[in-house]
């Protein structure tokens, strides 16, 4: 494969890839009199259109993606992204609309937003939704702000947020930005919240418990009702990280589990593409009690017209300039309508079936710290392979040689050497079997030829990267060859 240079390195003075029509108003120089103008934009590229197209096409070919194959990145729900949703989000009437357009000229957009809010409320059993958060982490932050605002009104915002040790790293980070101190709740041998431990920690200083259900081990919190009761009895709230709802859609609803606030990631459960790291969308759903605190504007309906309601005195304000990542919402709505109620339930059923098929097929080859039944994902570890000096990262990198994307390794922190595997519902048995066979082959290689794993990958565009040097001597931009010193 051709090694693609940086665009700056193929730049040549005077080359152009685009032309604007000639200026059609009389040109005036005096308007620049008081403006601080720049000289040329130093280093900015100058290339032709064909060079642009080749540059990005060549670069694209070095990416692995869901359209190419199996992507069992745990907790990320890398399901297939239906192409029709892209087409629908490109309808001109959606893409051309200005966010400050008078609302009677954008009734279609408001219908999209309101309908999506209502459908998400039905799917989750919550009472109201805000679609403003641009991603899951912003949804979490907003969700915690709603809790805080409500507690403040009751007279005391409280100080502590409880978070299980199996949680995603954003949970403590969001709680912290919201002004809370985090206390960790230990998981028990089943991988779930220890009810007694929770009861001990749950005081009137605790604002909320942040949970994930099924949790990041893929295990359902069977005592969720009891957990909610303990927290509620001391005046606290249940926050659920619903980024990944793939195991529950159509089967069980967080609202019915007495969850008070939830955020969803439309770019996970609801199939909108991840785009190499966004844009996502992280809607927040609440029970009636927290409804008054949702961001403005709230979308309402008067007779046959959708309206924007800014008059919400208790609102926490805004987390986005406009209405959130609108086009992402369009795609998610298209997805929900395309599947319908039965299709959504089938998502959960097949996601859990696929995951259990993988678990069963590999449980002799890879260690499972928790033997509790799992739902949409399961977390293997490298414990057996470590005996041969092979770590989860080596297994992950070797999978690349077999044409599969590696599972998640960075968490849950309670499983050392984790390989968090989530197949999603869209995968064929053939692709599942390819993965299973590769994992078995790798387990065999770990015993017989560990070196081949430790030096993997062997076939990719680049091989294992020197990440230590990248962090110690950061080179964060092209500088005509000069390195940036810290």
């Amino acid at each position: 494969m051709i090694r693609e240079p940086l665009i700056f390195e193929i730049s040549g003075k005077g080359k152009r890839a685009f032309s604007l029509p000639a200026l059609d108003v009389p040109e005036k120089q005096e308007i620049f009199k008081n403006l601080p103008l720049r000289s040329e934009i130093k280093g900015f590229p100058e290339v032709s259109e064909v060079e642009i197209v080749r540059h990005f096409t060549r670069l694209s070919r070095t990416n692995y993606c869901v359209d190419e194959g199996f992507y069992p990145l745990g907790s990320c729900t890398m399901k297939y992204n239906p192409k029709i949703n892209e087409k629908i989000a490109s309808i001109l009437e959606f893409t051309c609309t200005h966010p400050y357009a008078p609302f009677d000229l954008v009734q279609g957009n408001l219908e999209v937003l309101k309908t999506t809010e209502e459908l998400l409320a039905e799917i989750t059993g919550m009472d109201a939704f805000s679609l403003q958060p641009a991603a899951g982490a912003q949804g979490e932050l907003l969700g915690m702000m709603l809790i805080r605002a409500c507690l403040e009104e009751r007279g005391n915002p409280r100080e502590i947020v409880l978070i299980p040790d199996s949680a995603h790293g954003t949970n403590p980070s969001s709680a912290h930005i919201c002004g809370y101190r985090v206390q960790e709740i230990k998981s028990n041998e089943e991988g779930t919240i220890e009810v007694e431990d929770l009861a001990e920690h749950m005081t009137e200083d605790v604002a909320a418990l942040m949970i994930t259900n099924p949790n990041t081990l893929g295990v359902f919190e069977v005592d969720i009702k009891k957990v909610a009761e303990i927290v509620h009895s001391k005046g606290g709230f249940i926050y659920m990280d619903g980024a990944n709802l793939n195991a529950l859609v159509g089967v069980s609803r967080p609202g019915d589990m007495d969850v008070d606030v939830i955020h969803l990631n439309l770019h996970k459960t609801f199939s909108t593409p991840h785009g190499g790291g966004g844009p996502g969308s992280g809607p927040v759903g609440v029970k009636r009690e927290l409804d008054p605190y949702l961001p403005v504007p709230v979308i309402g309906k008067n007779q046959n017209e959708y309206v924007l309601d800014f008059d919400q005195p208790k609102s926490v304000g805004r987390v986005h300039s406009f209405f959130g990542n609108f086009l992402v919402v369009v795609k998610a709505l298209s997805y929900i309508l395309s599947l319908g109620s039965r299709g959504l339930k089938e998502v959960a059923e097949v996601a859990v079936l696929n995951s259990n098929y993988i678990r069963k097929s590999l449980e002799k080859d890879y260690h499972l710290k928790y033997t509790t039944p799992t739902f949409h994902e399961c977390v293997f570890s490298d414990k057996f392979q470590k005996e041969h000096g092979v770590h989860n990262i080596d297994i992950a990198k070797r999978l690349i040689d077999y044409g599969v994307h590696p599972p998640t390794m960075s968490f849950p922190l309670i499983v050392q050497g984790a390989l968090m595997t989530e197949p999603t519902e869209t995968e064929s048995k053939r692709d599942l079997d390819l993965f299973i066979d590769a994992m078995k082959q790798i387990a065999k290689e770990a015993k017989e030829d560990p070196e081949v794993l430790k030096s993997a990958p062997h076939t990719s565009y680049v091989r294992r990267m020197d990440e230590t040097t990248a962090a110690r001597n950061p080179v964060l931009k092209w500088d005509g060859g000069h390195k940036i010193e810290e």
Binding site: L59, L92, K429
Partner: protein, 447 residues
């Protein structure tokens, strides 16, 4: 539609291996009393063709495209070269996750690296990140960052920072010990230096301004930064109209410490406000407190150049509650669009685009202020927006223009009660001379 790839035979074989006879057995861990015992109340599934019909019908409710519009205020229509749509819709860009595995994500990583470079070149700063959600969250993150760096309780924010950015900042800092002070604007529409001088003190972590500001006026970044630095506070410059960077001096060369803003102008359609593109850059000395994902250059074990996500010890998945930000997913695909846009326009093209914006907006300003009953509100120099003051009833005028399918701009009275009869007008490269003339003629008739 269904996107399931298993046949009945597949399912049977898989269940046999698991040792179950029905998929329901896999859900037994969910207690009876919280299982949904009915179907979701959602319409039954639609085929592709039905979906298109359904959404075309919904889209008919949007009549905005039939209007000649001069709306701006943080969302700007500009040309978008066709190659941006074509290249950014490749599945290799659209369907991967965040590039955690660099060996199979070099495309995304190299593009982030190029994006960071372009943002540094445009803003005149040392380092940039892979993107933030939008201009508003960029401004809020900059405030949090300055507060971490300085530890002083106060942040001064210009009243002419986009009102919704101000609102988002207030939402973000609400639960932290940061007090927000407002800096007034002067008759020129720029920062009131006297007011700034009075409010700036040694309790101030940072001063946040926008340039061009919400009134369209280009600020004296150099003077404001100088004043800010005299009290050892940080100068944060927000750029809501990034196209201005094509011709105006880079804020980094005028003393800014952190430059953040909205990159929507770089190849991203208006899309009713999102997804957009937050960008952020700063001096290298602040790197440890810098939020968001960052790509860096390194080598693989064979010595080949490659790129990785780096400095992740700042981030939530390592540092949890002590992270510099909780952000993980950002706006990668929008950053890709911006990268294609900027590299396609190139050095001359971006300057030409910015040049045309100033020329066309100035032409419009001159033309419109010749109309009796319309005056220019602020005297400061502009980029592609300006505020007009109407002697007649603006609501009535807007109403009359609506009948002519013209939206002359944004009535900013709802944000600034003292400007209740004022209109913010935005003119960009997409507006042809005939359209500006039509706006003038329409206004002439109704004012």
């Amino acid at each position: 539609m269904s996107y399931i790839s298993l046949s009945d035979k597949d399912k049977k074989e898989m269940m046999a291996r698991i040792g179950i006879s029905s998929v329901d057995e896999l859900f037994l861990a969910i207690p009876e009393n919280i299982r949904l015992r009915r179907e979701l109340s959602i319409p039954s599934s639609l085929t592709e063709i039905e979906l298109i019909h359904r959404f075309k019908k919904i889209a008919e409710g949007n009549t905005y495209k039939d209007f000649l519009s001069f709306l701006g205020g943080g969302a700007y229509p500009h040309v978008i070269p066709y190659s941006v749509d074509y290249l950014s819709s490749r599945g290799e860009f659209v369907s991967p996750y965040t590039p955690y595995q660099p060996e199979v994500s070099q495309g995304t990583l190299q593009i982030i690296f190029e994006f960071q470079t372009l943002i540094c070149q445009l803003t005149g700063m040392d380092i940039a990140n892979a993107s933030l959600y939008d201009g508003a969250s960029g401004a809020a993150e900059a405030v949090l960052m300055a507060h971490r760096l300085k530890g002083r309780p106060k942040v001064l924010v210009s009243q002419t920072l986009h009102p919704q950015y101000q609102k988002v900042i207030k939402t973000y800092v609400k639960n932290l010990e940061i007090e927000i002070g407002e800096i007034k604007y002067s008759e020129s529409g720029g920062v009131d230096f006297k007011d700034l001088k009075e409010k700036l003190d040694d309790r101030t972590s940072a001063v946040v301004i926008q340039s061009p500001n919400f009134m369209g006026v280009v600020e004296d970044i150099e003077k404001i930064s100088e004043m800010t630095h005299s009290l050892e506070a940080l100068s944060i410059v927000v750029v809501a109209e990034a196209a201005s960077l094509g011709i105006l001096e880079a804020p980094g060369n005028l003393g800014a410490d952190i430059v953040t803003g909205e990159g929507q102008s770089f190849g991203i359609p208006l899309s009713f406000g999102g997804p957009y593109l937050g960008f952020m850059s700063c001096s290298k000395e602040f790197i440890r407190q810098f939020p968001g994902r960052i790509a860096g250059e390194t080598k693989d074990i064979d010595g080949k150049r490659g790129f990785v996500l780096t400095l992740s010890t700042r981030e939530q998945h390592i540092r949890r509650e002590r992270a510099t930000s909780n952000i993980c997913t950002n706006q990668a695909l929008c950053a890709l669009r911006a990268t294609i846009f900027l590299e396609t326009l190139g050095k001359e093209g971006l300057r030409e685009l910015a040049f045309q914006n100033i020329q066309k907006a100035s032409y419009a300003l001159e033309k419109l202020t010749q109309i009796k009953g319309i005056e220019r509100k602020f005297s400061g120099s502009i980029f592609n927006e300006f505020v007009l003051d109407f002697s007649g009833d603006l609501n009535k005028i807007e109403h009359a223009l609506r009948k002519k399918n013209v939206l002359a701009g944004m009535n900013i009275g709802e944000f600034y009660p003292e400007l209740e009869n004022c209109l913010l007008v935005c003119v960009t490269d997409i507006h042809r001379k005939e359209e500006i003339d039509l706006l003038a003629a329409s206004l002439e008739e109704v004012v």
